[in-house]
Amino acid sequence: MALLEVRDLTVVFQRRGEEPFRAVDGVSFDVEPGQTVGLVGESGCGKSVTSLAIMGLLPKRGATVTGTVTYDGTDLLKLSDKQMRDKRGSELGMVFQDPLSSLNPVIPIGLQVTEVLERHRGLARKEAMIEAKNLLDKVGIPDPNRRLKEYPHQLSGGMRQRALIAIALACRPKLLIADEPTTALDVTIQAQILAVMKELVQDLGTALVMITHDLGVVAGLCDEVNVLYGGKVVEKADRHPLFAEPRHPYTHGLLASIPRLDAAPGEKLTPIRGSVADNIPWAQGCAFAPRCPNALDVCVQVTPAEEDQLGRLLRCHNPVVPGTPAAEEVPV
């Protein structure tokens, strides 16, 4: 059985005097123990809201969460606040994009790590200190004894993110959710952090949900990839088939529009027209239709269902056939 089973997760935001907004719309995916699953998409695709909903971190007021999130046999959405708090520290770890605002600025790093160890693993202060030092060492923070006494602002962005990973891993969680953990960092630091995460996941057997907008990060890290657009999973496949033969026009377009470092000189980029905000203003239809080169008339009338097509899960009426060029040349 899967470690985490997300079924039909839907999050609707309702602000007073405004139309309700479906940020996440029927998202389903599984995470097996030790597996790394990617959620990829651009701003507003619902990837971060999905992670917050799983962790029970959405505000109670204004956000309605439906569907089920089964972790190890229990539905996380049905747990009380207190039960969820216990789960969060001990079995579910989370790493956020901005390490500075996720750490308490007035408490030394060491105390923030030992706090978790004392609370969730019941270690004594002294043991916790030793364990904290080991943890910082493990995530590659130099001179951990000294770092333990320092405050978050005294660390660089990369070191803070390592400290946050150390805290998230302090209780050896079975599942770690990382929400854009390297977006705020430089590439060389990103490479360090990703290496640390990869190693830890392998050593500890932790399952990882990686949320990012960077297809490159996903390509090197994830076993299975979920591509999100407009709050829905539009394509789900293992990473090799996904990158080799993207079938959803969105995935296809995304890959064709990013400049690759190993591209031949003079290779042209094929952009996707319009912007993420271009949605169809009525309930039915595919959210990507206004930007899609493959769109048919049915696309703006009927919401495509998630179907097992071409050996993967797809939500598309007219998927890309490999080997054919983009249906239409997009004007600049």
């Binding site: 130099p142 630091i189 390509a219 470092l261």
Partner: protein, 368 residues
């Protein structure tokens, strides 16, 4: 296209770190840009890459004189741009325009697109009669791929990519020779970045523009640039044609940078060797002696690296590198070794009031 349009000579920008309430006391300097020489030829695209804190944005702004450089000069089309003053400087600004990273914050939220575009024309007396101006504005919008109905709208009503088009149209309005684009696509969604990159390439062809593109994303820079300069801690460490730089990086930092960039292809990713750099970028307020990179360099040698600052030298035609041992590293004579990360203290000697001293570039220096 061999005519030199821009020549930057030994440019330095040092921001004083000030303390005190009444009489500001200078307690040190942030060496944001520390001696950069570069040349940009007419009609080419020069890409400047580096990670945050390397001084690339500060260099761009110093060239435009949005920051005053501490030393050095920029010669633009045969004229010493750094020496211009007052009205002369203002007139000359027409020929060098800028495109900013955040398209929303760089557009005045109170101005309609029309008044944003007209402002530059007015400032240089190019606003001749209602009809010709109107035609000009429509042509501009068409050139950047916006509908003419956009004129009456306000920046907040557009998407990120469209706003960046407005920013580009504003720069184009003055028919500049050089456009300095500071991270022109990094604030945009991935699917939109290519639109703006393609637009910039198309406009370059159409209007014969020269670009200086400043970005942290080497893949974007490689795609758009003819030549690329790599910056590290205030200095240029390598300069080559885009293809050469990727095919044969000579500086250890460039190698590490290239190897760190993820490629959206699992087959490539599984095969790649990564050069992981140890530790963090040292503080630009307290840069290492000798070669700025020696504290993190896997090829560091016992001699010269920590005592002598390497100068940029031409190793092959058109390929310059600032490394004492570039030949030996290239031939495999020197092998990489383990590097112990050195502690970098955040906020070393930097007081919290530093952001008031200089523009955005200081925050860049503060947050490596």
């Amino acid at each position: 296209m061999s005519e030199t349009l821009v020549s930057v000579q030994d440019m330095k920008v040092h921001f004083p770190i000030k303390r005190g309430v009444f009489m500001d006391r200078t307690v040190g300097y942030v060496y944001a840009v520390d001696g950069v020489d570069l040349e940009i030829k007419r009609g080419e695209t020069y890409g400047l890459v580096g990670e945050s804190g390397c001084g690339k944005s500060t260099l761009g702004r110093a060239m435009l004189r949005l920051n005053e450089p501490t030393a050095g000069k920029m010669v633009f089309d045969g004229q010493d741009f750094s020496a211009l003053k007052g009205e002369e400087l203002r007139r000359m600004r027409r020929r060098i325009q800028m495109v900013f990273q955040d398209p929303l914050s760089s557009l005045d939220p109170r101005q309609s697109v029309e008044s944003i575009l007209i402002e530059g024309l007015r400032a240089h007396g190019l606003d001749k009669g209602k009809e010709s101006t109107n035609k000009r504005l429509r042509d501009l919008l068409t050139a950047v791929g916006l509908p003419t109905t956009a004129l009456r709208k306000y920046p907040h009503e557009f998407s990120g990519g469209q706003r960046q088009r407005i920013g580009i149209a504003r720069a184009l309005a003055l028919e500049p020779d050089l456009i300095v684009a500071d991270e022109p696509v990094s604030a945009l969604d991935v699917s939109v970045q290519a639109q703006v990159v393609n637009l910039m390439e198309q406009l370059q062809e159409q209007f014969g523009l020269t670009y200086l593109v400043i970005a942290h994303d080497l893949a974007v820079v490689k795609h758009i640039s003819d030549r690329v300069g790599v910056m590290y801690l205030g200095g240029l460490v390598e300069e080559a044609s885009a293809a050469d730089l990727y095919a044969e990086p000579l500086h250890p930092y460039t190698r590490a940078l290239l190897s760190a960039i993820p490629v959206p292809d699992p087959v490539v990713e599984d095969r790649r060797e990564r050069i992981l750099l140890a530790g963090d970028l040292p503080s630009p307020a307290n840069p290492p002696s000798g070669c700025r990179f020696h504290t993190r360099c896997p090829w560091r040698q016992e001699t010269r690296c920590d005592t002598e600052r390497p100068v940029l030298r031409e190793l092959k035609p058109g390929h310059k590198v600032a490394c004492h041992w570039a030949e030996q590293i290239q031939s495999g004579q020197i092998q990489p070794h383990e590097v112990q990360p050195i502690l970098v203290e955040e906020g070393d000697g930097l007081s919290p009031d530093v952001p008031l001293v200089g523009p955005a570039s200081v925050t860049e220096a503060l947050n490596p």
